[in-house]
Amino acid sequence: MLGAIILKEWLKIRWVWGAALLVHLGMLVYLLLAMRHQFQVEHSEMIWYWAFELRRLLYTQIQYLPALTGAVIAAAQFGPEMLGGRFRLSLHLPVRGDLLVWSWVGFGALMGGLLALLDGAGLYWIISTWFPHEAAESALLTALPWLLGGWVAYFGTTLALLEPSRARRAVYAGLTLAFLALLDQGHGYQEYDRIMPQLTGLALLLLPAVILPAHRYRHRS
């Protein structure tokens, strides 16, 4: 049954995920070229000074990519489900409703996670090509809230899409935006270092939360 569920989810998101993969690869290539260009037109020691001392972030091109991707994957997975009552049919599979929803979002989160992993690995490689490894590690730590933004956007969009009530949908959208804004407060590198565990804990609350709209959909609409 699990294999069938995963296959169905894959069929729903494969085109969107493939396009997202291309966009992520394209953005990493753009970051690579932008960095290379930077080092061609400016003295290397000055760029290092900007990066280390002036705390200028040279890789913000990928900042909003995870959040955007999370929202798009969720829309591809659950947007069509909400049309014409298809979601009701899905909830009638011979599997416990909550486990079913978790298997869907688990698959979506995993696919988003793969892209986040690609972003992290690409960022580390690009930065370590022109900077010492300390800078690459710092870039990765700086990008962690951006990557967490992907998780938040994915689950936030899922909550809003599965919710049958329009007013509640707006509440979930507002909460998601409030959380995403929380992850966009930094100005320099590693400013989130001391609160990433708390923010991750907060983001994990979205995992059980996603059951509520499905429960409301099943029992009320």
Partner: protein, 418 residues
């Protein structure tokens, strides 16, 4: 069961987000531009004087410690070493104070400001531990950044910035020079001022694995290392290097026990500063130098202190006052009654973001009680008996207005017990 867990996860998330964002919205709506009081010591009347904004717009007062008010120009003439350019413009130079006479050149030669802020502390700001070791004898008018960077770790690594490649020769030369001077690796901390816009380059102070301090410079491409004798009983917490063309002091040294010292440039002697109530983690410190005095001014967001010292840093007089900016505003009082706590994201003393909770104590009882009454009314309107929503009410009891808003946004389902 999972639906209940889901709702409670959402309630918790909602409350925490509200506790972060609503206080920020309040600040956005009601924040005022009251800044810190500017406190000085007047060499003319030998009293502390200050400039303070006490109301909306430009309601500044110019006052001395005895409460005498001055107009702006009179105030500036009380601190002529600060406003020496105005003094010149108003034909008040040379300045005569008792037996002393100061022309513009004499004032300029003695003027200096040294600052030490909480954000200058190494543990209050993230820092990639790579430092450019400038050539201290550049043989030209301006300093410039080297094409390599120093990594102070198990040895003193140098990495070429053009090729992003480890430089074994430079690493060996500098590491050996430090070892020969008695330095024990690994480097515990490196302190320096990374800038080319400074009077000269003083290099770095390096703390070795035993806590001993060394001074490192790059002179004509070669290492120059000197052990810095630290008196018994002083463990270095931080050093702020501030090169200045007066060449008297090289910076601040903060000890682990909170004592603050000035370090002389030539011999690295430490001058203890007697600053009662000074807390380096919360207070901004300025030391103002003029031809007659050294004045230390330090403040958190409530109280400003000043100690005036003679040229040998012996305290002469002290003054402290609660700043106008610390006055409690009615909106703050109402706020503390309205919500039981805030979650602060931005710590003004640190570059790190935080999630510090500030509890409002008993003052919030009014807001919590009102929130509980409103919660009961909401439950009544939704046809839910309070006994079936005990946990929701408990949540409002702990989270006050935030709990009430969460309850409104994510209400319990009719028929479900919370």
């Amino acid at each position: 069961m999972t639906a209940r867990l889901a709702r409670w996860s959402l309630l918790l998330l909602t409350i925490l987000l509200l506790a972060i964002w609503i206080p920020q919205a309040k600040e956005l709506l009601f924040d005022d531009r009251f800044d810190k009081t500017q406190l000085f010591f007047s060499p003319v009347i030998e009293r502390f004087v200050y400039k303070e904004l006490i109301g909306e717009g430009h309601q500044f007062v110019y006052r001395d410690q005895d409460g005498t008010d001055y107009d702006r120009e009179s105030f500036e003439t009380l601190i002529p070493f600060i406003y020496y350019k105005n003094m010149e413009l108003w034909g008040r130079l040379p300045l005569v104070l008792g037996e002393h006479r100061f022309d513009k050149a004499a004032i300029v030669a003695e003027r200096q400001v040294m600052e030490f802020k909480p954000q200058d502390l190494s543990d209050q700001a993230p820092r990639i531990q790579l430092f450019p070791l400038l050539e201290s004898n550049p043989g030209r008018a301006r300093l410039r950044f080297p094409e390599d960077i120093m990594r102070a770790g198990e040895q003193l690594d140098f990495i070429d910035s053009d090729a992003n490649r480890f430089d074994p020769e430079l690493t060996r030369t500098f590491t050996q020079a430090l070892e020969q001077a008695g330095f024990r690796f690994p480097v515990r901390a490196a302190f320096g001022r990374v800038s080319i816009l400074k009077a000269f380059d003083a290099g770095y102070f390096l703390l070795d694995s035993r806590g001993s301090l060394f001074h490192l410079r790059r002179l004509d491409g070669a290492p120059e290392v000197a052990a810095v004798p630290i008196p018994e009983g002083i463990a270095v917490r931080d050093i702020k290097v501030t090169e200045n063309k007066r060449h008297e002091l090289i910076g601040f040294l903060l000890a682990e026990d909170g004592r603050l010292f000035l370090m002389t440039e030539r011999d690295h002697d430490l001058i203890a500063l007697d600053l009662p109530g000074y807390d380096p983690d919360r207070m901004e410190l300025k030391i103002l130098f003029n031809p007659l005095y050294r004045i230390a001014v330090y403040s958190d967001r409530e109280t400003i202190h000043a100690v005036v010292m003679d040229r040998d840093y012996h305290p002469i007089d002290r003054y402290a006052r609660r700043m106008a900016m610390a006055r409690e505003r009615p909106v703050d009082r109402v706020w503390e009654m309205l919500v039981p706590f805030d979650l602060n994201l931005h710590d003004p003393d640190s570059r790190y973001l935080s999630l510090d909770a500030r509890f409002h104590g008993l003052a919030a009882a009014i807001g919590v009680a009102a929130s509980l009454l409103l919660a009961l009314e909401i439950l009544r309107l939704r046809g839910i008996r309070p006994t079936r929503a005990r946990m929701d009410l408990l949540l409002v009891l702990f989270a006050g207005l935030y709990g009430l808003l969460a309850l409104i946004l994510i209400p319990p389902e009719r028929g479900d017990e919370t």
